[in-house]
């Protein structure tokens, strides 16, 4: 494999990664924006169409440009208060002070219990 081919493949792989990340984020953000589920389905298929419409583009520079545009658009329309499930980091129940269930205790000297 020549150097130029390797460079081409590496760049394509990087672009593919960026597109996948952008799509995943945009899809998740669409779910936050859509108040009702049926609206989400419609928005999600529209989003997919936008990505599919350019899937045959081969020009590396054009792809880069389109990805940059897509990322800019995503950043512009990103939801200011995205949905986070309550128990995930940033969620409403994350790091509260619940009492541990019975049978579970905190071991402060883990691994050195025999020395006590």
């Amino acid at each position: 494999m020549s150097v130029s081919t390797a460079a081409y493949l590496a760049r394509r792989a990087a672009q593919k990664e960026r597109v996948q990340i952008l799509y995943r984020r945009a899809l998740r953000d669409t779910l936050t924006w859509a108040v009702h589920r049926h609206l989400f389905y419609q928005d999600a298929s529209n989003l997919r169409e936008k990505f599919d419409a350019n899937k045959h583009v081969e020009d590396l520079d054009a792809i880069d440009r389109m990805i940059a545009e897509g990322e800019a658009q995503y950043n512009k329309w990103r939801h200011p208060d995205p949905y986070i499930v309550p128990w995930a980091p940033g969620g409403s129940k994350f790091t509260r002070n619940p009492t541990p269930p019975s049978g579970i205790e905190i071991v402060y000297n883990y691994g050195r219990e025999d020395n006590d």
């Binding site: 108040v35 009702h36 589920r37 049926h38 208060d81 949905y83 309550p86 128990w87 940033g90 969620g91 409403s92 129940k93 994350f94 790091t95 509260r96 002070n97 619940p98 009492t99 402060y108």
Partner: protein
């Protein structure tokens, strides 16, 4: 002293202390705390039902400054009685609810104690007979709000929200304080009775020129007070903390951020209604802000998805209604709405808590269990009652019902109705929401002037007619129909199909053509773009370099002096101060670079005995660059001392005083020395003490000395040594050179203000705890606060071995006793200096050090033992006693201070 009124107010505090002390028995503690609140509620009802006329119960004197004597008292009239009933009843319900809601939380008792302390402060606020006591309660409820929002202290978002709430409230409090000062300026009193008496006597109040316009001082005072109310009552502009405050537990939101604390602003305006009646301009401001909040908050609530934030914005909006009532001089109607709103809004919040509880903590209405109303029918019915009350539907005193019909496909299997102890308070509040309006209006006649007995201004009403009274209902129904038309659902309710299509088509035209081009692009987009562009350019001014800010501030001082004194003096001072600062800096750098040996240091130290121990403390037992810090400290302060000696020698030589006492020297200087020479002596003395104090820009020795010094050294430094500067300023500059002091008074005030702001901002930016305390010492001139803080710091260094705040976060879970003391002294320290800025940096210290999750591997911290705790507790009690009962100290200081100020009083006409 132990009257019904006293017990009614203090029982919640007593309950909180006893309950927290008996924290090991959860049930007993909860029982004690709730019982005390119950007794307080019963006594409140008793006071309300048996009240005949306004009276006041004295508790004890507080302090006396000049002619102004302030006492702790409990003032009972209809206004305070109805507020007592509302506060204690809602508080009791919230206490009961919290027992169930917080049953799974390890800090449940602490939570109940906080609620009780809050109830105490709220009652102090509503029963106060003067502005100062009211301000005490005002600050107290703010503190409790901070503690309750940040109750889950391991949660970063909660800590941030708590800090935001406190700091934003502090902005309002600053205006409130200024308003109080303006009121004192106008009426020469802060007692409500005395102020209202002056108003009823029809005395005239002066005007002041503001930007060339003659304005009534009373108007300015009222507007300042209202700005204070805007912070506490979350009105547009200072409302941003309220939605974030929803990070706290739901019962706290029900009590504080819906029923009681946020209505304190409305209460204040109603209490001060005779003063507000004097100023139509102030009432207009209240009206406009209230209207704007009403509309904007309601619109924002529509697009919220978090159930608690919907209710929070609805609270904002309802508070706007109350201010509209105040702005139209219908104070009694504002209080009527306040009372009913407290009941139905706390009902809504507690019901929302039930919904969240049953949906496994989910707060997004779009992600809750599908049609959960079938599983929690009682909560559903209670939410209906609350929502109808909110909408003002007869006979009840919404948007939340959407929660129960959400189209989510998710179905939570474990959804269930809450326990009896959580449902009982809701039922009581629901009954209150339904009948309170009718009871208050028809049975007690709250809308008539007889009910209030002169406790607030009540104007007679004209009948507005049936059509106007029905107008809100008609407009509401019309709005609902238009909404349905927009969604093409009118056929469901048999609305003419053609009209429906017409409305629908036109609305689509509006959204399709007009909205994107005109509204979105030009209006919304234009404003956003303009703000963004301004921010892009203005941010360049914020370089982040302290020197740049200092330069700007000094330029401000120069401009002020230019205006006040004229050109020549400014030039003189601006040349003199930087030149001296440069000389000192060059000298200290040169000395350090040569690594001066101990012999020379000892020689300098032998002359200046007070500095020697500190020099050795830093140099021998300090850490880091201890030698550099020690010599920097010595060179700065010793140079100042040499200058001081020179000044004393010169003064002694030229004064020709009969003896060397301060008084005789002052007389000698005044009679034998020309004013110009007095000015030069004053400048020399001031520079000396500015270094000792220290005041910006002569302060740079203090932070490095603080950081490198051992803890004991820091204690002496912050608690004692730097106070010598203040003492010297008082003794030499003011007592011996009163004429020159009067001449430079404005300059010193300006420089102090700059020093305060600069040091506060720098303190906020510090990452090292000792640096933060050092800069706060620069900002602070309070002996007690700085001394207390140093002791606090002493405990910290010994325990954690680090001063980097990032390395010792989450202490609350590891060292609860020490953490409690840190929070206490932080609050004491966040008292007056800078108000907002001091709160910001002290709360940052708490956030970084006390709250948050403890980092991994931080299990080495041992909490302070009982003995150490007792020492800190004694100091804490001293701080409390000095705050609550400072009269003995002030009485003790009074003769000495008066003696010092005698020469200045003689000069008053020339410099006042």
């Amino acid at each position: 002293m132990f009257s019904v009124e006293f017990l009614c107010v203090t029982l919640p505090l007593i309950g909180a202390i006893i309950g927290q002390a008996m924290g090991r028995s959860r049930l007993l503690s909860a029982g004690i705390i709730s019982s005390c609140v119950f007794c307080s509620a019963v006594l409140s009802w008793y006071l309300f039902l048996t009240l005949q006329q306004r009276y006041s119960v004295g508790v004890m004197p507080w302090f006396q400054i000049g002619d102004m004597a302030i006492a702790w008292s409990i003032c009972i009239d209809k206004l305070s009685a109805i507020m007592l009933v509302v506060v204690t009843t809602v508080s009791l319900m919230v206490h009961l609810y919290s027992i169930g809601y917080m049953s799974g939380d390890s800090g449940g008792i602490r939570f109940l104690a906080y609620l009780s302390v809050f109830t105490f402060f709220m009652m102090v606020l509503v029963t106060s007979g003067n502005f100062v006591q009211l301000f005490f309660g005002w600050e107290g409820v703010g503190l409790c709000s901070y503690l309750l929002i940040g109750f889950w202290f391991k949660k970063d978002a909660a800590n941030r929200s708590a800090m935001k709430a406190f700091v934003v409230n502090r902005v309002g409090d600053l205006f409130f304080l200024c308003g109080m000062l303006a009121i004192f300026y106008v009426f020469r009193s802060l007692s409500f009775d005395e102020i209202f008496e002056q108003i009823s006597n029809g005395e005239g109040f002066g005007t002041v020129s503001v930007l060339g316009y003659q304005t009534q001082i009373v108007s300015i005072a009222c507007i300042l007070l209202f700005l204070g109310c805007m912070g506490k009552s979350a009105q547009l502009g200072l409302h941003t903390w309220l939605p974030d405050a929803m990070e706290g537990p739901t019962p706290a939101s029900a009590l504080i951020h819906a029923a009681t604390m946020v209505t304190a602003g409305v209460f204040l305006i109603a209490r001060c209604s005779p003063i507000f009646e004097l100023s139509q301009a102030a009432l207009d401001v209240v009206l406009v802000i209230g209207l704007a909040t009403c509309l904007v908050a309601a619109l924002v609530a529509i697009v919220q998805e978090d159930i608690k934030k919907i209710i929070a914005y609805s609270t904002c909006s309802q508070l706007g209604y109350m201010f509209v009532a105040c702005g139209t001089a219908n104070y009694h109607l504002a209080i009527f709405h306040l009372a009913t709103h407290a009941l139905f809004k706390s009902l809504l919040f507690l019901a929302a808590g039930n919904v969240i509880h049953s949906n496994a903590g989910e707060q997004r209405i779009t992600h809750m269990s599908k049609n959960c109303w079938r599983d929690i029918p009682l909560t559903y019915a209670l939410m209906w009652i609350g929502s109808l009350s909110l909408m003002g539907v007869f006979p009840f005193a919404g948007l939340m019902l959407k929660v129960f019909h959400n189209p989510s496909t998710k179905r939570i299997s474990s959804i269930h109705e809450s326990s009896g102890i959580m449902l009982f308070p809701l039922l009581v509040l629901a009954v209150g929401a339904v009948v309170s309006g009718m009871l208050l209006k028809s049975f007690w006649g709250i809308t008539g002037s007889e009910f209030w007995g002169g406790s607030l201004k009540v104007h007679a009403h004209e009948d507005i007619g049936l059509l106007l009274s029905l107008l809100p209902a008609i407009l509401g129904v019309a709005g609902a129909l238009l909404y349905l038309a927009y969604h093409n659902r009118l056929r469901v309710i048999a609305f003419p199909d053609k009209l429906a299509r017409l409305v629908h088509t036109n609305s689509h035209d509006l959204s399709g053509r007009c909205r994107p081009k005109v509204i979105d692009y030009f209006l919304l987009g234009g404003i956003t773009e303009a703000v963004s562009t301004c921010a892009r350019y203005s941010v360049k001014v914020q370089s982040g370099r302290a020197f740049d800010y200092a330069l700007v501030m000094l330029s401000g001082v120069a401009t002020t002096l230019l205006v006040v004194y004229g050109f020549d003096t400014v030039i003189l001072l601006m040349i003199l101060i930087p030149a001296l600062g440069s000389c000192l800096a060059a000298f200290s750098r040169g000395a350090m670079s040569r690594a001066v040996g101990p012999a020379r240091g000892c020689h300098a130290g032998s002359v200046l005995s007070s500095l020697v121990p500190m020099f050795f403390m830093i140099g021998f037992w300090g850490h880091g660059d201890k030698v550099g810090a020690a010599f920097k400290f010595l060179i700065y302060t010793a140079t100042a001392s040499v200058g001081f000696l020179a000044a004393v020698a010169c003064i002694d030589a030229v004064a020709n005083a009969t003896s060397s006492s301060f008084d005789d020297t002052a007389v000698g200087l005044a009679t034998n020395v020309h004013f110009h020479w007095q000015v030069y002596f004053w400048i020399l003395c001031f520079i000396v003490f500015a270094v000792k104090l220290p005041v910006v820009p002569c302060h740079t020795w203090l932070p490095s000395a603080h950081v490198q010094a051992p803890t004991a050294g820091s204690v002496l430094l912050a608690g004692l040594l730097i106070k010598l500067g203040g003492y010297g300023l008082l003794r030499f500059c003011i007592q011996m050179l009163p004429t020159a002091s009067a001449h430079f008074a404005k300059f010193v005030i300006c420089l102090s203000a700059v020093s305060l702001i600069y040091a506060s901002l720098t303190a906020f930016a510090q990452r090292n705890m000792k640096m933060l305390v050092a800069y706060s010492s620069v900002a602070h001139m309070s002996f007690v606060a700085a001394g207390m803080f140093s002791l606090n710091e002493a405990g910290m260094l010994g325990r954690t071995g680090t001063m980097e705040m990032s390395e010792c976060s989450g202490l609350a879970s590891k060292m609860p006793r020490l953490s409690a003391m840190i929070v206490f002294f932080s609050m004491a320290s966040a008292g007056i200096p800078g108000m907002v800025l001091s709160a910001a940096y002290m709360l940052r210290l708490c956030k970084e050090v006390v709250w948050g999750s403890a980092p991994a591997g931080s299990g080495k911290f041992d909490d302070i033992n009982i003995g150490e705790f007792a020492i800190l507790a004694a100091l804490a009690i001293l701080v409390l006693v000095l705050g609550v009962f400072p009269a003995p100290l002030l009485t003790m200081l009074k003769p000495a201070v008066e003696h010092l100020l005698v020469p200045l009083h003689k000069l008053q006409p020339s410099w006042g």
